[in-house]
Each structure stands twice: as structure tokens, then as C-alpha cells.
Amino acid sequence: MCDTCGCLSPSETGHHHHHHDHKHTHEHKQIAIGESVMARNDEYAEKNRAHFAEKRLFVINLISSPGSGKTAVLEVLARHFGSRMAVIEGDIQTSRDADRVTAAGSAAHQIETQGACHLDAHSVGHALAHLDLETVKLIIIENVGNLVCPSTYDLGENEKMAILSLPEGDDKVLKYPALFHRVKTLLINKMDLSPYLQFDVDRAEAECRSLNPEVQSFRVSATTGVGMDALFAYLEDRIGE
């Protein structure tokens, strides 16, 4: 790094067209900004949040890696909540997840992210127009399967919920702290597989609490339904508020 102005050398940036002569006085003029990089997304998120509040909706942004069981959990919830729940699906390409939720009894609208690895507040705002919210009290947004990118984007939700499933390993929480710091609820899914896997559930929960002492954890299996009653009760409570 250049000691005078702190700018980086080509090898540090991968930038090959830098003809900066370090022997000369720098004529850079500094302008203070102090703005969050997420500012524009956050503006849309606040609009969504106001809209949700006005319609008395409880909204969850559901985040996990691919295959940890987001849609499987949503199918279980759809069978319980039916028309009281609606789902917004962020899927890179197919409408498979939306179809599964609809078949299980709740309305679903799909946002095709066209390759993007996360949903943003603007696209969620548009998706809302496609849902009939007459009977709906709970909206769950299934984000794109990814533990990193979605965590930075506020969608205007009331809370973020993460799923960590047993086959992923019990060391993931501190590897992806940006997500696990922001979640209000943590689902440890695929508990039915515990006889076959070394996964220290206490450890994962403790590490998640070390990033966020208020996190509530649920040990569930979408396949067998184990632990789902506690999750239903938690969500019924949120909707009732």
C-alpha cells in the first residue's frame, strides 16, 4: 500500500492500468461521505416494513444453504397455517419450490432472481403486489440458498430465521457470522439423522448465542415432524401480537 495516500498497488488490486506516479505530490482531494453501502436497499426495506406493519403481517426472511430444508419446513408450515400463510420464493431458475408450497396449502409467489445469489428489498416489494393477502397473517420469504449473500440485504422483514441442518456440520455458525449474528430464530433441521452424524447441537446453539444472545433455537425434522409443535406455537404467538 502507498504510504502517502493509502492507495493500493496493482498487485494488491488486480488492476493493471494504474499509472500512479508515487514520486510526485498527490493531488487527491478527499470528500467525506459517511453513507452505508446498503442505503438504497435499506430505503426499500423500510417501505416494505411500513407496508407489512400497516397490513398487520408478520414477515420472516428464511435463509440457509442449499438443501438444508427451507422448502421442506415451509411445506410443514403450509399444512399447519394454510391460507393464513403466504410464501415468497426466491429461486434462481425453476418454480419448483413455489409449486411444493402451493401443493401443501399456502399461496406462493416466485421471484426469479436470474442468477442473483440473494433477494433484495426492491424485488420483494414488487412480489407483494402478486399475493392476495386477504387471509394472510404470516409471510415467509424463502431466500436463495446461500449462507453469505442474503444476510446483508434487509428485506423489511420482522425477523431473520436461519436453518442449519445436521449434514452441514456443527462448525458452520462461526464460519458464517454475518448471518448467524442477525437471526432471531435458528432451526436445527434433519434431527432424524442424528444417529448417523456427528453433530453437536449444543455447540451450534452456544456459538449462535455467542453472536446473538437472544436467538431462539428449535430442533426439528421436516421429514418426521419432530419439534414442529414448538415452532407452530412460536409463530402463532408472533402472529397474535
Partner: protein, 110 residues
């Protein structure tokens, strides 16, 4: 991954601050360890994008801010760049985070 969208945001947020006729030379960012940003890929995307946007000289200057925690057992406040570092006074994992998610444009240079 999402670093391309982030690089786009950074340029769009910086653009209105660039005085007429001046070239963007440096964007100074502050990034916390819980911002969820990969510095290396952000630099890569930014370097590609500024070339297309007509600011071929523009560079990122990233200041990595540490995370600040307060221990819930002994009250000690500590800074760390890795979240795997627990309380240095009593080694308790229980803590609240005071800061660490910062992701902002601190300044630009033209």
C-alpha cells in the same frame, strides 16, 4: 457472489459526490468482520466495473474495523477481528456485540 451488486452500489452512491470534471480516484470503505463482505472479490468486481464506468483510475481503500463485544459474564469489553476469539479476561462465550457490521463509504478522493 453479491460483491458485484455491492460494487455497483458503491459506484452509484459515490457518483453524485464527484465534482463536475473530476475523476474518481479512491473510494474509502469501512468494513466490519460481520458485514458479510469478501474483500477480495469486492476489489475484483470494483476494478472491473470502474473500467466500464469510465473511472479507470479508481481504487478501493478498505479499512477493516474490528468487532467490539461485551462479555456477559465479567463485563469486559474487547475488540477482535475474528469472531472465534472469546472473552480474553474470562474466556466466556456469552457476549453482546457492540459493533462489527459496519459497511459504509467513509470518503472518496478525486
Amino acid at each position: 457472489m453479491h460483491e458485484l451488486s455491492l460494487a455497483t452500489e458503491i459506484i452509484e452512491l459515490a457518483r453524485p459526490h464527484i465534482p463536475k470534471g473530476e475523476m474518481l480516484k479512491v473510494v474509502g470503505l469501512i468494513v466490519g468482520p460481520l458485514a458479510g463482505v469478501c474483500e477480495e472479490s469486492l476489489r475484483f468486481c470494483f476494478a472491473e466495473l470502474v473500467r466500464l464506468e469510465g473511472f479507470p483510475e479508481a481504487m478501493l481503500q478498505i479499512e477493516s474495523a474490528p468487532a467490539r463485544f461485551q462479555c456477559l459474564d465479567c463485563g469486559h469489553e474487547y475488540e477482535t477481528v475474528t469472531v472465534e476469539q472469546f472473552c480474553p479476561a474470562c474466556s466466556s462465550m456469552a457476549r453482546t456485540m457492540l459493533s462489527g457490521t459496519e459497511f459504509s463509504i467513509n470518503f472518496i478522493e478525486v
